[in-house]
Amino acid sequence: MSERRNEEQGRYRGFARRAVMLGGGQLLLLGALAGRMYYLQVVEAEKYKLLAEDNRINIRLLPPPRGRIVDRFGTPLAVNRQNYRVLLVSEQIRDLEASLDDLDRIVPLDEADRERIRKEITRKRNFVPVTVRENLSWEQVSRIEVNAPELPGVSIDVGETRHYPYGEILSHIVGYVAAVSEKELTGDPLLELPGFRVGKNGVEKLNDEALRGTAGTSHIEVNAVGRMIKELSRHEGHAGREVVLTIDSGLQSYIHQRLANEKSAAAVVLDVDNGEVLSLCSVPSYDPKPFNVGLSRQEWLGLVNDPLSPLSNKAISGLYAPGSTFKMMVALAALEAGLGADHKAYCPGFMRLGNHRFHCWKRGGHGSMDLTGAIQQSCDVWFYDVAKRIGIDRIAGMAERFGLGAPVGIDLPGERGGAMPTKAWKLANIGQAWLGGETLINAIGQGFVLTTPLQLAVMTARLATGKAVVPHVTRGLRGGGMPSLSIRLPAPSIEVPKAHLEVVRNAMDAVVNSARGTARGSAIQEPGWEMAGKTGTSQVRRITKAERDAGVIKNEDLPWRRRDHGLFVAYAPVDRPRYACAVVVEHGGGGSSAAAPIVKDILLETQRRDPLGNEPLPLVALGDGQKA
């Protein structure tokens, strides 16, 4: 019995020892768990907190509505139009094909559409809507809404697309928006939003940042599969700012229509006092809409390869020899050089320099000419004579002051400068010494001198006022949560004596409003609206001696490509100038016949509408009001 008790006690002692060991082991393991928790929740806590926030919070961008572009009176030129699309949420539909069949009865879907939808549905999470079709008509929208109970999982969504009410009439100024290209990505996440558009040309491009606005953000809590649970916070962005242009859209429409008779032409109308561009037109033009939607390669190639280059805004990027419109510069340079307005030269129809004859456009010659007569009748020989006396550099110096041969700095992309040659210019650019004959050729606006229609308009405005106005199309910015901005560019004096300008203006008056003027046929008859101007004919071919002897071929008998460009510059009214206009008709023939009638019509219409006499859209006042 005692043996058994001893054995029992031994067994208990052994058990107790082992139990203590097990207990100790367990304690150690529990300690390890506590240590692990300390490591995760104290040592590494920050790391995991960040990871948990990453998990939980998604930042969604709220794209701001793009700012409008309006003309000087507030007429919208670029707006956002609601774009209705029909969406499908796959988790809410039982049978995709049946749903698509149902939709097909309202919105026709072809097999390619269906294939794309099937693909998108398998790729996206089942609560993410898939676009079935965009740009629905109002009728389609209402039919879908009415049938909503029979179309589970189908919803209508409103997006925004850019709409240009004036289409091709203003596409060269307003420009267009299109999808963001790879190289335009700046790291701004807004640009990476699907369907986001940026300005690619014109005002849309130049003012893109202001028009774009700033994106708002919405912090949303999402669950493990990305479904939105709730919005945690919302930071509203700013809508894009409204860009107010100096353009008068009504005048622009008129001019576009007036130019439409020509194959290729450009016109500019300026406010002579401050350089505001009232109209800037280039035909042919293009429709900006396909760029927004996405241009097919064929459409693109068609536009690029069109010989009339509709994509190019010829008013600011077309380079033309100014022809006789340049003669005012030579006349002013002569006055500055001390040759009086009464300086006379005899025109027998040509001038001999060395053993070369430089012809006047009038074969029989003008006889004895002074400055006024030379401008009035556009006598070339008088200008040959004067140019020979004063030299090319003085002429160039004058032309530069009037904005010729270099970009004038208009706020549009794609402006070209042209050329205003000097002796140094020729040495640097062509590597040859200046020849005396070149002075004569350039003095009548041929040769090296190249200008844009805009430069010619600027020149005319500066002639009319004596102020160095700078052209611009942007009048100001409004809205977008910031005070309005009004753009006024300084117009300092051109530093040409008033008396000299007066002489030239009188001559320009005579061009239009005197019996012998080259543009007498285009005179404005309405009293008080008369214009003063100057014709120009820009030769695109060389007239050989043989042809001259046989009689110069008339423009009408030449193929279009080889005809002269017709130019005309003018300002009106004569006694108190307000508007300046320049028109270039490509291969239109002589300036007096091709361009002057157009300018007449334009200036007549401009004065009839009188955009400067009407109150433009208020800018500063509205900005203050918004702030208050």
């Binding site: 082992r18 529990l30 300390y38 939980r56």
Partner: protein, 386 residues
Amino acid sequence: MSVLDEMHLRRNPRLTLGQKLLSINWGLVLLIALLAGFGLAMLYSAANASFHPWASRQAMRFLFGLTVMLAVALIDIRVWFRLSYPIYLLSLLLLVAVELKGSVGMGAQRWIDLGVIQLQPSEVMKVALIMALARYFHGRTLEDVGRVHYLIPPLFLAVAPAALVLRQPDLGTALMLLMGGGALFFAAGVRWWKFALAIGAVGAAVPLAWNSLRGYQQKRVLTFFDPESDPLGAGYHIMQSKIALGSGGVLGKGYLQGSQSHLNFLPEKQTDFIFTMLAEELGMVGGLILLGLFFLVFVYGFAIALRSRNHYGRLLALGLTVNLFLYVFINIAMVTGLIPVVGVPLPLVSYGGTAMLTVLFSLGLMVSVSIHRDVRIPRRGLRDES
């Protein structure tokens, strides 16, 4: 209490129902209720502040389980002693039945529907195995235990169910059965070197075992070693669990405020990963309090084992305590990324019927050992004495 103390000084006391009720370790019952309360609170949170669908059902189960536990506790230890082998046999049969049904049906089949409750025989087996082993070693002297051939029957008792469970396939439960059984071998006094031998043998069998693992089990083990390598695939559970824990910090995000859990980043938050959710919302402090409660339960278990005057009771109480410890340790080590995800619930806290019931049943047995600690059970069994 002095009446009770006096009573317990007697050999083989005959206890009235009242005395038994007084002898119940009410402190232990309180701990259990606290743990279950923790669990219910977390289930309420897991359902986004709703009793439906988990907390209400779990509360019913707990009340039912608590009744079972008290009933089990009041039943004489000698009854359990006698029933040890039959219960084991029944559990084994259930496992075989599940195996047969599973081979007839499709894929993993771990459940048997008894109409009232669904029973997971492998869970029941965890308790049954400990009872059977305690019954076996109760009848062996220390000398017997030292002899190898006496170890063969208990080895079979442990390996047979483990092998069946592994076939289901349920690696976690199989390992738990082996470890729980091993603890009893250890407590019974099996020599250290024999354990070393067994572990060595198992180690040698690892390559073999690896090949027999199912693909998903292999993947679980592999991704355990580098969960970040596949954050959206197999490592997702561990990674998200660690994020939830770590982001909880010392004091937690606040009750009902766990973003990881409530936004479904945390998988199985109401069952295996409930500890993660608790530690996310209540922080390290909450987690350690829960661990502390479990620790006190283990202390109770050890105390009961050491105070029992019969070897069966000692082994049973110790084995059940170790079993409970294994649940807790494996679950928490799993969710904190210390060991692979094996699918072991946190006893009393996780949502689930069988685990709740078997754990409360085993705690009932433990209390029964405590109540009947002075009952002597002869080594060769009860029939000799009568």
